[in-house]
């Protein structure tokens, strides 16, 4: 059944059940209200649709009321019926809240795992490879020059492995976040963008304390993605990263004065690549939102908002 058809059907039954309840406000009619709410939930109706159904049923009931006294009585009793019908939605709402808390705990756990693996790749595997390099250098010293070609190839492969492990570790969790903290890590990123692409970047961080690791990482990744886009594709002359804590959320905004984006295509068409999609997924998993807007006449303002407690 389509949502509209379901809403009409539930609406008709709701109307009758409410009239019954108003005529005789008893437990049987209240159970009817609860059953209807449960049915509305199963049919996929939303809480706003139910509220609309209720409001229209109350209006009809008031029209049918014979006199002012009866109308007064209707107005003071209809809420109990509405609350009954909403009760199954309350259960759904509590389930959603619990699911969000579980999702957040899982995110923290995954972030913790990523951190440990990143450390193992970066630090532990890095040390082992470094000692292997030394062994190779020692072995090479004992060999005649014509026999070291093979060792040189091994060394090149080792360097390649080292490089890949470093990249992988960085992808999992940028070590700079743990070494320096978010503010300094962003400042360092800005320096890198500036020296590599010639795009000056101003960074402002205003936080009231440390953020959870998973949020830090998401803010860092967002800034990284937005600045790389600005530097590579937008022709911007300057960019700005602002991170601040407001009430119970963290807001990160990355603005540039580049070519902006196409209103019709928005985020996807004018800025291809998986990067921004990934930002949306990461931020969405934390219960946050992503907004892409123009920065004045030209340029882009990418803003993410992540709640600190769900």
């Amino acid at each position: 059944m389509s949502n509209l058809a379901a809403a009409i059907k539930v609406g008709e039954r709701y109307q009758n059940a409410l009239l019954e309840y108003l005529a005789a406000p008893e437990e049987t009619a209240l159970l009817g209200g609860y059953d209807l709410g449960r049915r509305a939930l199963s049919e996929g109706l939303g809480v706003l649709e139910l509220a609309t159904i209720h409001s229209s049923a109350v209006a009809t009931a008031l029209n049918c009321a014979p006199d002012g006294d009866e109308r007064e009585r209707f107005l003071s009793t209809h809420t109990a019926f509405f609350i009954e019908a909403l009760s199954p939605f309350e259960m759904g709402h509590r389930a959603f809240r619990d699911a969000n808390a579980i999702l957040r705990r899982m995110n923290d756990m995954l972030e913790g795992q990523a951190k440990r693996i990143a450390y193992a790749l970066h630090s532990e595997a890095g040390q082992l490879l470094a000692s292997l390099h030394m062994e190779l250098a020692n072995t090479a010293r004992d060999l005649p020059p014509e026999k070291t070609t093979h060792l040189t190839k091994i060394r090149e492969t080792l360097l390649e492995i080292e490089n890949r492990l470093r990249n992988l570790s960085h992808e999992l969790r940028p070590p700079v976040l743990d070494d320096l903290g978010l503010a300094a890590a962003l400042a360092l990123m800005a320096q890198g963008v500036s020296s590599r692409w010639g795009l000056p970047v101003i960074v402002t961080v205003d936080l009231k304390g440390d953020l959870p690791a998973v949020i830090e990482n998401t803010v860092y990744r967002t800034a990284q993605e937005a600045l790389t886009n600005a530097a590579k594709h937008s022709g911007a002359n300057r960019a700005e990263v602002r991170v601040r804590q407001s009430d119970r959320k963290v807001v990160c905004s990355v603005r540039d004065d580049g070519n902006g984006f196409d209103d019709t295509g928005g985020l996807r068409k004018s800025r291809p690549g998986l990067g921004l999609t990934e930002i949306k997924e990461r931020v969405g998993a934390l219960g946050g939102i992503v907004r892409l807007a123009r920065n004045g006449d030209r340029g882009t303002d990418l803003r993410i908002e992540i709640p600190l407690d769900i």
Partner: protein, 135 residues
């Protein structure tokens, strides 16, 4: 009003009776309209299970007093086939409810205390308590 009421659950009409008794005790315990509704919702959900899976059962509703705090205790008992895996039925989305957070796990979220005991072939007992925190 007695502090404990028992209602046999054999038909849909008995759910109405159980809700009525629970609502009266909830009002006596000082619960708000919203919290009284959550209590009757818990009764409806559990009694519905009794009718669906065990056909008959009994709901016992009692008033709780703990110092100045009051509340209600609801015990829903049946002699049905029992539950093989309680952990499974307490998961959201188990059975045909499409994961909307209702049923057993949904009811647990409405109450302050919730305990379910069951043995295959020996029925199921759900014990729930809700305290009035606005006193």
């Amino acid at each position: 009003m007695p502090n404990e009421v028992r209602v046999k659950i054999v038909s849909h009409a008995d759910i109405v009776a159980a809700r009525q008794e629970a609502r009266a005790l909830a009002i006596e315990a000082g619960f708000s309209l919203c919290d009284s509704t959550l209590i009757t919702t818990a009764i409806s959900e559990m009694s519905r299970n009794v009718l669906e899976y065990a056909q008959t059962g009994e709901v016992t509703i009692s008033l709780l007093r703990n110092g100045t705090k009051s509340g209600v205790k609801i015990v829903v008992q049946d002699c049905g086939p029992g539950i093989a895996d309680i952990g499974q039925v307490m998961q959201d989305g188990y059975s045909s409810r499409k994961g909307m957070g209702i049923g057993l796990p949904g009811t647990k979220r409405l109450m302050d205390e919730f305990e379910i005991r069951s043995k295959l072939g020996n029925g199921t007992t759900v014990t729930m308590k809700k305290w009035n925190w606005n006193q």
